[in-house]
Symmetry: C2
Subunit: 93 residues, 2 copies
């Protein structure tokens, strides 16, 4: 597996250590969602949502697909696999 810095590993899991971001991931579990839809479900302002989506995308676990004015977010299978692999390696599972 590719060697990541400890800083990068922490960045990956930073995606998962906030309750609102966990809620967002739950919403993405059923497939791609537009940011505007996520806004309806999570009780934060639009700029706060934008911040959370940036953290999620920076981790690689989520990807955004721009389509006109909208951005459709979804779970990245590759990013998720990397996170799972790193966790496994880190904990010797």
């Amino acid at each position: 597996m590719m060697k990541l810095t400890d800083k990068k590993i922490a960045e990956i899991f930073k995606a998962l250590c906030d309750e609102n971001r966990i809620k967002i991931l739950h919403l993405l579990q059923t497939g791609e969602k537009c940011a505007c839809h996520l806004n309806d479900e999570i009780n934060v302002t639009q700029p706060t949502m934008s911040h959370h989506m940036k953290v999620l995308c920076d981790s690689g676990i989520v990807v955004g697909r721009k389509e006109g004015k909208w951005i459709h977010y979804s779970i990245s299978p590759d990013g998720a696999k990397l996170a799972a692999d790193v966790l496994k390696e880190l904990t010797n599972i």
Copy 2:
């Protein structure tokens, strides 16, 4: 799988979103370590180390075993498996 609150899920992954805690987990990869040994390797004061060990133990990923004056920490296979399962479930892997 057992149903966890979003707050609890965030608590699990909080263990993994700090660079020093990742370093600690790397040290535990080779087996149980005494807190005093971890202190030698990670450049923080004893109370700060104590704080990090608490966060790691609260997540369930690490367990401490008290032996006299010392506490020996190790990765909990059960805690690690739970974290891996939650991550898998959350990202549909």
